[in-house]
């Protein structure tokens, strides 16, 4: 399998990179880890005239805790860097665990969090937990940067709010928060190298046994990762019981619109949503950020 011809640029600064994108026109694309875009190019789904490699923008690799902003993850942080980052594990182990569930070791060493978001496939593993934790992204363009909640970032299958002709996703930020627990549960056909058949993330804020707040996000069961608002409302303000979590799971089924494909039927996915919502909530409530 060979790649079509393209021009290659490796700018030394973010400003240079966004200027290049604007100048090169509509068929230039950003290259981060390459684990998605090179596959698309090999399969003939994409034939960019130029690739703008971000490999020299080392500042976009950092993962750090900022007392005001929260956990700031550079867009070029690889999945394995997120898995192994002490600060990420300490603050939101659930995110490190979600990154660990993604693809296989070789891909996790190259693939980046920014690429995972911009690629915007419905079954992506990082968006559900990021949305549950209320994360936002920073999009940098030639005229400055804008922030956007991850929840609003996705606009359809493989579509997102980033303008590929002028913008680069530079960081993902999880704000400081009172949540007491969060988790992401994935069902894939294998433990490694498999897309999610269903992925459910939950983040809860507890006051003793009472659920003060809950955010649930479903992956792989709609054209984009989607909040299960009705399932959250079932919980808020009530003392948690196994029965209440089951009711929330049933409500989550009403929030999704899964397709049938080779990985699972729509009916099967709906049932997984019910069960995984219940399990994710119980883990987040009883185990913290795991």
């Amino acid at each position: 399998m060979f790649l079509p011809d393209f021009d290659y640029y490796a700018p030394a600064s973010l400003g240079e990179a966004t200027d290049l994108l604007t100048r090169l026109g509509p068929s230039a694309r950003v290259l981060a880890g390459g684990t998605d875009i090179l596959v698309k190019m090999k399969n003939g789904l994409l034939a960019p005239s130029a690739l703008v490699s971000l490999k020299h923008l080392r500042e976009l690799r950092n993962i750090r805790w900022d007392a005001e902003r929260g956990l700031v993850i550079g867009a070029l942080a690889t999945h394995n860097e997120i898995c192994n980052s002490a600060v990420a594990q300490e603050r939101f182990l659930s995110l490190s665990e979600a990154a660990h569930k993604l693809a296989n070791n070789q891909v996790r060493n190259r693939g980046t969090i920014g690429g995972n978001l911009v690629n915007a496939i419905p079954s992506a593993d990082l968006p559900p937990i990021l949305i549950a934790l209320g994360a936002h992204v920073t999009l940098a363009g030639p005229d400055g940067s804008r922030a956007m909640p991850v929840e609003r970032f996705f606009t359809g299958v493989s579509c997102c709010a980033l303008d590929p002709q002028r913008e680069i996703l530079t960081e993902v930020v999880i704000p400081p928060q009172e949540t007491t627990g969060s988790t992401y549960i994935k069902f894939g056909l294998r433990r490694s190298g498999a897309l999610a058949v269903v992925g459910v993330a939950a983040a809860v804020t507890m006051d003793g046994d009472m659920v003060k707040d809950a955010r649930i996000c479903l992956g792989a069961v709609y054209k984009m990762p989607t909040r299960a608002i009705q399932a959250e409302q079932v919980l808020i303000g009530k003392g948690w019981t196994d029965d209440l979590l089951e009711q929330s799971g049933r409500a989550a089924v009403g929030c999704c619109l899964p397709i049938s494909d080779i990985r699972g039927s729509a009916e099967y996915r709906r049932d997984l949503v019910r069960i995984f919502t219940r399990r994710a909530l119980k883990r987040a409530i009883t185990k913290g950020h795991v």
Partner: protein, 165 residues
């Protein structure tokens, strides 16, 4: 990075990378994949090509110590990197313990997955000299063996780890 455009207008780039301790300065096109640079230009054909889509791990090499699929890395992105391929695992004509252990445990059947398996295992043992069995299974889970030989491969890696201990 120096770029050279020939009379036909084809652009090539001069990169420098270290492979198995030797420095190379190949002149390559932008669309050259690392796996093809290794196999076709540097004649290091121990790195295999399987699915070429990042699923099978046959083309696993160590890039700055980490296992990556060489089919999903542009050669240009490896500019300035240190690579280890299966040809660089044996030292001074002596097989590495891991390689010896693969032979002793009959962990090789057709052999096509073996270079990738050994490099994934090598990266694991460098990071963690005493892995558990689930740890070994996780480390090689990005490498597919279609002869269904995982049991002996896992045994081989655990044996090599013990010898090293």
């Amino acid at each position: 990075m120096q770029a050279i455009t020939d009379k036909q207008g084809v652009k090539r780039y001069l990169i420098t990378l270290t492979v198995n301790g030797d420095q190379y300065s190949p002149v390559i096109k932008a669309n050259t994949l690392l796996v093809n640079l290794l196999r076709d230009e540097l004649d290091l054909t121990g790195t295999k090509k399987g699915c070429e889509l990042g699923d099978c791990g046959s083309c696993t090499v160590l890039m700055d110590g980490k296992p990556v699929d060489a089919c999903l890395v542009l050669a240009l992105e490896a500019d300035g990197c240190e690579l280890i391929t299966i040809e660089g695992v044996a030292q001074h004509g002596e097989l590495d313990r891991l390689q010896r252990s693969f032979i002793d445990n009959a962990a090789i059947q057709c052999g096509y997955c073996t270079p990738g398996m050994i490099l994934s295992a090598k990266a694991l043992l460098t990071r963690n000299p005493h892995p558990t069995e689930p740890g070994v299974r996780a480390a090689i889970s990005g490498n597919l063996c279609r002869c269904t030989g995982y049991v002996n491969i896992v045994k081989a890696v655990l044996d090599a780890a013990e010898v090293k201990g």
